[in-house]
């Protein structure tokens, strides 16, 4: 009797192997296929076909030594089938695709070539609308499904699917190249890639403060993506800056809301609940690029976060250093929100009035007049400066400009505190 493995075990092993290669190599495989096929839909469909084939082929012939390479080779053959089957494919396109597939070296035996950098640049191309960039990046590099992306961003699934279809068509038909930008374009284009990743992180950050539970953790996904960019472009400083910044921010995830879900300021947070391992991982990445020329905006934001992360007691914060970092950041990015944060730092380093003077610059006040955090910040500074009547007005303004019930409750509570303090200062009122 020959001992044959029980079929159930073998199919288990096959499923495990498939799941493993899908999780760890899907981006790489898809990127390789894109390099050959230059067509997102075709690459995705062919990969799906290859996965289906793998299930039966691996069951009879065993799991290959290089499962990812096997998937690439098989998917390429499947793509060829699809092209030949598609009656609508115009002859020129078909001939070209067949040629491209035939030309590419078959049967990779070693590790497959890593084309993910090109895939990232095509997904984050500035000629695509922002939601499509986010969606394509999460789907092709991050490996999320369209329903997962739609749920995470609160977009109806058909809407997102439609946007992705349009984006893929644009990539194909407008000749968006499958390429890494040249040296001279790289800073701008890389900034665009990092902006997509940061947006994904912030979406996750905001979603997790709500009451709704989402399955996909966009913050973790964004951290993974930022690491991938540092791995693929190790000589660029800004990806390291972003990878550090995201870790510093994420290290506060369990400390940044109070028992009722209300947001806590940095001073109010229990710093013992900050994730020390994550802070160290961020600091390591930041250290790698420190003193390598003038820091870019992500590196500067990471440096600011690092000051907080390295301070046990809020009162010991080196606000002077933070103001100096904000001065550099404003020269990169003179947006109203950055100026608002700088004003807070100045208020902490000097006096509340110094920050208030910056906030009351007419152009800033106008640009942020509908932004609740502007009014909330002003209110807090007015409160600290003892200008309680004005503080009440600013808290009321902040409450008017937020739709979020948790935030509004937080502002209301502050409002009551300040009103009480004001009343106490005024003495008892006739009832």
């Amino acid at each position: 009797m020959t001992p044959t493995p029980r079929p159930a075990e073998r199919s288990d092993r096959v499923d495990q192997a498939l799941e493993h290669v899908y999780r760890s190599d899907r981006g790489r495989v898809l990127a390789r296929l894109m390099a050959v096929l230059r067509d997102f839909d075709l690459a995705e469909d062919a990969l799906q076909d290859a996965v289906v084939s793998a299930r039966s082929a691996w069951r009879t012939g065993g799991v290959p030594d290089n499962p990812a390479g096997w998937l690439v080779t098989t998917a390429r053959r499947k793509a060829l089938d699809r092209i030949r089957r598609a009656a609508s494919a115009d002859r020129r396109h078909r001939a070209w695709a067949e040629l491209a597939i035939a030309w590419d070296p078959p049967e990779p035996v070693g590790p497959i070539r890593d084309d993910r950098l090109r895939l990232i640049f095509i997904c984050c191309h500035p000629a695509l609308p922002m939601e499509a960039r986010v969606g394509l990046t999460l789907r092709s590099i991050g490996g999320l499904t369209t329903p997962e992306v739609a749920r995470a961003f609160l977009i109806p699934e058909p809407t997102l699917a439609q946007r992705l279809v349009r984006a893929k068509r644009k990539i194909r038909e407008s000749g968006i190249g499958y390429r890494v930008p040249d040296r001279d374009e790289l800073p701008g284009r890389l900034g665009g890639v990092l902006a997509v990743i940061y947006l994904i992180f912030n979406a996750g950050y905001l979603a997790s403060s709500g009451t709704e539970l989402i399955r996909v953790d966009l913050c973790d996904e964004a951290i993974r993506l930022s690491d991938l960019v540092t791995e693929l472009l190790p000589d660029e400083a800004e990806p390291w800056g972003l990878a550090a910044l995201l870790r510093f921010q994420h290290s506060r995830r369990s400390a940044r809301t109070g028992p009722e879900g209300q947001p806590l300021t940095l001073e109010e947070q229990d710093r013992r609940r900050w994730d020390a391992q994550m802070i160290l991982a961020g600091a390591t990445r930041l250290g790698r690029v420190r003193d390598q020329g003038p820091p870019g905006p992500y590196q500067l934001q990471a440096e600011i976060a690092a000051v907080h992360a390295g301070t046990d007691e809020p009162t010991a914060t080196d606000w002077g250093r933070i103001v100096a970092l904000y001065d550099q950041l404003v020269s990169w990015d003179p947006t109203p929100v950055v100026r608002l944060n700088r004003a807070v730092a100045v208020a902490m380093a000097e006096r509340p009035e110094s920050g208030l003077a910056l906030l009351d610059a007419p152009d800033l006040a106008m640009a942020l007049s509908n932004y609740h955090l502007f009014h909330l910040t002003r209110a807090d500074l007015l409160r600290r400066a003892g200008r309680l009547d004005e503080a009440v007005g600013a808290y009321e303004e902040a409450a008017r400009h937020t739709d979020n019930s948790v935030e509004r409750a937080f502002v209301q509570r502050r409002l009551v505190e300040v009103a009480d303090r004001r009343n106490a200062a005024d003495g008892p009122r006739p009832s």
Binding site: A127, E173, S174, G175, I176, G177, P181, E185
Partner: protein, 115 residues
């Protein structure tokens, strides 16, 4: 791939002969032409007369209707075009950003559908 760079301008903002900035713009267009030629790929392009010089044709039920002027009055009008060849969109976008009139209006980049 071939791309058409469609230049749109608001005539109020764009320099005209005799106005300040005109000589400079002329020199810039000269330099832009040289730049395109240096890529060694075929290209063509010219400015267009303003829309009040246009005649519009419509064919309905086999009948040709001829009207004076453009179809719709808009503040910005198509003031010129280039037809260029590029390896990919990024190259075409780079060329579009060098069109001197892009500083005053906009340049729309459209891939030519090769049938």
């Amino acid at each position: 791939m071939r791309y058409m760079l469609i230049i749109h301008n608001d005539p109020e903002l764009h320099p005209v002969p005799g106005s300040p900035g005109w000589d400079e713009l002329m020199a810039e267009y000269g330099a832009f032409g040289e730049q395109l030629a240096s890529y060694g790929k075929p290209f063509s392009g010219d400015p267009l007369a303003p829309p009040d010089m246009a005649t519009t044709i419509r064919v309905r039920n086999g009948e040709t209707l001829t009207t004076d002027g453009p179809f719709a009055e808009t503040k910005e009008w198509m003031s010129g075009y280039y037809l260029i060849e590029a390896d990919h969109l990024d190259q075409a976008l780079k060329a579009a950003a060098m069109v001197p009139s892009a500083k005053y209006g906009s340049v729309e980049v459209r891939p030519v559908l090769e049938m």
